[in-house]
Amino acid sequence: MDRASLAFVMVGHVDHGKSTLIGRLLCDTDSLPDGKLEEIEAAARAEGRELEFGFVMDHLREERERGITIDTAQTFFSSPRRDYVIIDAPGHKEFIKNMITGASQAEAAMLICSVAEGVQEQTKRHAYVLKLLGLAQVVVAYNKMDLVGFQEAPFRRVKADMDAFLGRLGVAPSMEVPISARRGDNVATRSGNMPWYDGPTILEALDVFAKIPPPTDKPLRFPVQDVYEGPEAGDGRIVVGRVESGRLERGQSLRFLPGGQVRTVREIRKYGEQDVASAEAGECIGVVLEDDGLERGQVGGPQDDLPSPTRRFHASVFWLSPTPLDLERQADALALKCATQEQPCRIADMLERLDSSTLELLPREDGRLRETEVGELLIETAEPVVVESFYDVQELGRFVLVRGRDVVAGGIVTRPEA
């Protein structure tokens, strides 16, 4: 039996109940191992708290003492229909890099919002991140319905605010569910407290998420990850990498950029498999070519369907480092990492600077881009790179910027310059 597994991220403002909802889901679907509930009861007692479902996920002592999530964590559970990976993300602004780490691994998202507090700063920022990362499948959970007497009016009010904001982003939630994570209403079972609501429970809403298929229908992109000497003497060189999109066939002629070498695939190698005729998106393979002369970072693809290497492209960049980007002083060189490519780069221009929560445009005079802000940047690399619009081929349209050993920003390519 091979069940599909779907990864979704839980996001929203601090203290709106992300970890609690996950703990509740695991508990009510009978997914916790024996003794786990007793363990978190004891840990909660030690902190002078009542039973905290959030402790299922918040495992660091510092998290339990402060009652917040610091770092992203992943857990597993199953509905009758399929298996899930749940990615918990912290709701504090200071931990936004951990939230983005979690969200970048997800196929779908659950945005949680307390009806007692309404749409808040991180609710909006997280929604923006979902949009930026291309996470189109979103369910909204309106939590803490118990605090407003399970009334429909406050739910409608917050929902109207939420819908207006998501509308500005162009995000259309597939489901919107009023719940109480603490008490379990509409989580795994239907609540008797909200007769005015006849939509799905959280568990049912999850089953509507679609598994994102690997991009086999896109043109072939095969970035070279490394080149190995074959294990046997006289085996020749094996070019290894992952097929990022499309399909690679034995006998096919590939062009590798930058560089422009055209090479025929003599053999596709997968250890333990004989006579491999093709490989599709997601597969890590080795290929034997005649006379490769290739190196890591080059991208192979069909001769007539590869983007031209470029040194300049436009991108939306989310700044993650407490040290701002300073356009005037770029002595501490940045580098771009996209698929297996790595190139020194500089920021040639900042066309827009955005507050990722309010979506307001910010002044650009001082040439700085600060933590949690988003810049529309023109990036210039030292040597040409192969990048594509994120909306064409995601795998070559997303990147990070590093300074020394630190990842300082994540971004998506909006427009390569020809």
Binding site: D2, G35, M57, A73, I100, T101, Y271, R296, G410
Partner: protein, 267 residues
């Protein structure tokens, strides 16, 4: 692509990334089901011949079956084996009964590993930990830096977006690489079944009990079970609600022992 192949491909990608990045790479192999699966994935990543050493941390208190299984695999797969052992502490008679368990684990495992890293100059290590084993492991990154003292700065982990991992370690760091983070216990067993991997006999039930997680003899309790084949273990996992590490003493000292151990550099 099926689920197991998806997990496998993701792991192979990470293994190859770490081999590209780090000049001195090693992998920890406890001979348990997870790290043996990792050895197998490394063989796949490098077409049969693993181009770096595998490290076995010997506390002197492992089961005889573990040593026998280890030597069998080394022979069969042509592994370059390094045995790491804290002889000084063993000579002093350090054990789980001579003080706190935390101290015993720290001296016989963590210190032995520190010494081994210093002697061989490793700048990165592959480890077969998984997120579903323990709440604290659920918070790990694929590439996780440790400082010279081995400390894990879990409050300030580097961002890890898509498949872009933390870069080359400078002198004071080594990096832990975790290619199996996304696998569940049941995935490991299904994969062992699919790939027909050799497996330590301690996992199979004898006299109504089997080991579900392996470590040192004094700190490892078998669980009640009749499962004596991979198929029966898979059937058992379908219904069991017992935590995988229920038989592991380190997890039980208090709620944060694993956090303390891991912060100090424990695996």
């Amino acid at each position: 692509m099926d689920h197991l192949s998806e997990l496998e491909n993701r792991s192979i990608y990470i293994i190859r990334e770490s081999y590209h990045q780090f000049g001195r790479l090693g992998m920890l192999w406890s001979v348990g089901k997870d790290s043996t699966t990792l050895v197998w994935l490394c063989r796949k990543a490098f077409f049969g011949r693993i181009p770096f050493p595998v490290i076995y941390i010997d506390t002197g208190r492992h089961f005889p079956e573990m040593y026998a299984f280890r030597d069998e695999c080394v022979e069969r797969w042509g592994l370059d084996l390094i045995v790491a052992r804290n002889d000084e502490a063993l000579a002093r008679g350090v054990g789980p009964d001579t003080g706190e368990k935390l101290t015993c684990c720290t001296l016989l495992k963590t210190q032995a590993l520190k010494d081994c890293i210093a002697v061989h100059g490793f700048d990165a290590l592959l480890l077969g930990i998984r997120r579903d084993e323990h709440g604290i492991r659920a918070k790990e990154r694929y590439f996780s830096p440790r400082d010279r003292q081995f400390q894990w700065d879990y409050e300030n982990q580097p961002p890890e977006l898509w498949d872009q991992y933390t870069s080359q370690a400078d002198d004071e760091f080594h990096i832990r690489v975790h290619p199996l983070l996304h696998w569940r216990e049941v995935d490991i067993w299904r994969y062992i079944q699919r790939e027909e991997l050799p497996i330590n006999p301690l996992y199979f039930a004898r006299d109504g009990r089997r080991y579900r997680s392996l470590g040192c003899m004094p700190c490892c309790e078998p669980v009640v079970s009749d499962a004596s084949s991979v198929e029966e273990i898979l059937e058992e996992l379908r219904t069991s609600k017992i935590a995988e590490r229920a038989g592991r003493a380190q997890d039980k000292e208090d709620a944060y022992t694993m956090q303390k151990l891991r912060a100090l550099g424990y695996m």
